[in-house]
Symmetry: C2
Subunit: 327 residues, 2 copies
């Protein structure tokens, strides 16, 4: 049994706990938290919640630590720090800062003789894999990534900071006609506005100026001004009933051509429709935990990404079983 520990018990930490429960070859041995451990109630019976400052005492008792934190400020600090103690995995998702994060984690993990895997999830993660497979195969072609329909935490937070807003949820929605144009093989050039729309559900405070809130949302630079945005004001009851989920998804499509004169077109499409973004993301993390430890057993140390991992390593089945039943 592979001994997994979790650092950080929010949506992702809870997702890892579920994914480990669903993995017959894994067991949860500890949850590390930066909060007061007595305030953190987990679901798995008999597993201790330990302060993160005491994690060092668990060296030798944990095969791999799954680090569950935000990419803005948590993971850039936590992953290099804990890669000195354990084999680790994170879901770092700030695309532009991946090379820098990779370098920091690689140095820490190599010095300690550990393996570390960063940016595991679905984007970055499964979507990245599909971009690389598709572009390597259809060398003449064009890539498209669409997200949604799904909840963007960052955009929801931005709306909640507007004066007069009590609560808010933002959905990113792919434009169906843009998807169809891509699938038709036309290789369209699509602007930001043509690819996605944004839909916002707002619970306003009593007496708030709704017109002003709507205008502030729609004109917010970076977040909304480049998109067609629809704003709905709803009551708190409806908000809690219909907008508590964390569904998400998206599409990676490559349209490309082959032939002596590039006369034949092909479409490769990968899509996800997820009821729970954090639970799906952590299911990916747990599969890559299995792979990371297999690579470690072969002597691999330092930082790796999903692009470095042979697909067979994710499976609990043997190579012989995979060739006989899945190939």
């Amino acid at each position: 049994m592979t001994k997994i520990a979790i650092l950080g018990y929010g949506n992702l930490g809870r997702g890892v706990e579920c994914a480990v429960k669903n993995s017959p070859d894994m067991e949860l041995v500890a949850v590390f938290t930066r909060r007061d451990p007595s305030t953190v109630k987990i679901q798995t019976a008999g597993v201790p919640v330990v302060h993160a400052d005491d994690a060092e005492k668990w060296v030798g008792k944990v095969d791999l630590l799954i680090i569950c934190g935000g990419s803005a400020t948590d993971l850039p600090v936590l992953t290099p720090k804990f890669a000195k103690l354990f084999n680790v995995i994170d879901s770092f998702d700030t695309h532009a800062r991946i090379p820098e994060h990779f370098a920091n984690v690689d140095a820490a993990a190599k010095a300690a003789g550990n393996i570390a895997m960063i940016s595991v999830g679905w984007d970055p993660g499964l979507f990245s894999l599909n971009r690389v497979y598709a572009a390597s195969i259809l060398q003449n072609g064009k890539d498209y990534t669409f997200w949604g329909k799904g909840v963007s935490q960052g955009h929801s937070d931005a709306v909640r900071r507007i004066e007069g807003v009590k609560n808010a949820k933002q959905y990113t929605c792919p434009v169906e006609s843009a998807l169809e144009a891509v699938r038709s093989g036309k290789n369209p050039e699509l602007s930001t506005r043509e690819k996605h729309t944004r839909e916002v559900f707002v619970v306003a405070k009593e007496g708030a100026d709704l017109k002003k809130i709507e205008n502030e949302i729609k004109t917010m630079p970076n977040y909304f001004s480049d998109y067609d945005t629809t704003v709905h004001f709803i009551g708190e009851e409806e908000f809690n009933r219909d907008h508590s989920g964390l569904a998400h998804g998206g599409f990676v499509i490559r349209s490309g051509s082959t032939g002596w004169n590039n006369e034949h077109n092909h479409i490769i499409e990968y899509s996800l429709k997820l009821d729970s973004n954090p639970e799906f993301t952590t299911s990916v993390l747990v599969a890559y935990a299995r792979a990371a430890l297999r690579m470690k057993a072969e002597g691999v140390t330092g930082c790796k990404t999903v692009l470095d991992v042979p697909p067979a390593y994710l499976s609990a089945l043997s190579d012989e079983e995979l060739r006989a039943h899945c190939l």
Copy 2:
């Protein structure tokens, strides 16, 4: 530049030729044939066509040989034979015989210190990858593979063997309502008949008994009797105009659940829509040629499959470029 040779110059061989032309890091150096080389005209200027019996003289001048042949009788003989001389790749697609083929090729390649990669293409191949990724991530779930709409060569051949048939083409078509049921997360149990239909276009010989031909097709065991089949009799001109293509495609879908009580459902879908089955298949072969040689350079020998290959190895980009731009 990677030096590629082709064995067998039919639809697949021509596809490899196009894919190598489209790969800036590769060049075609020879085409081996079992026919009289003077009868084989290829498209690439200045590349020799050589009898397969003389292939041995090319040892040292070829980095990797792509073996283009049928899975029934060609590849089981050719791949082990040529793995003794060269690094090789094939597209062996008889799923049930993969373990046996793997063992034969592995022994030959290991003895010679070569690398061999078998069953590369889209099914087996890209579809296999997606089955393994999806099942490793959504451990509680169900897999579905649909093929088409596309031409089945084996079924077309079977119809052509019927008395009174001059020419025939068979299309395998996924049943749209079955696809929708799977995508809805209902995890339906689907019979063979519920998943695919078959559509046959027949050019009959003059004076042939059309009723009899239609009945023979629809009741043919293994090929048609388990399916709803539609038969169209058409003229030779229409046949040549509308049914000369080799389009294909399909869908791999996994529907699975996560959560403490498996309360959240997720759909992972991978699909291909291909104008030319042989040209797409050979584009996959050429990408894996690049990967095989990278593994060989690291000292790997013996037989491998797509499940053993890190995705980054398929790309002509460096690991740094991939992390910065594709992850």
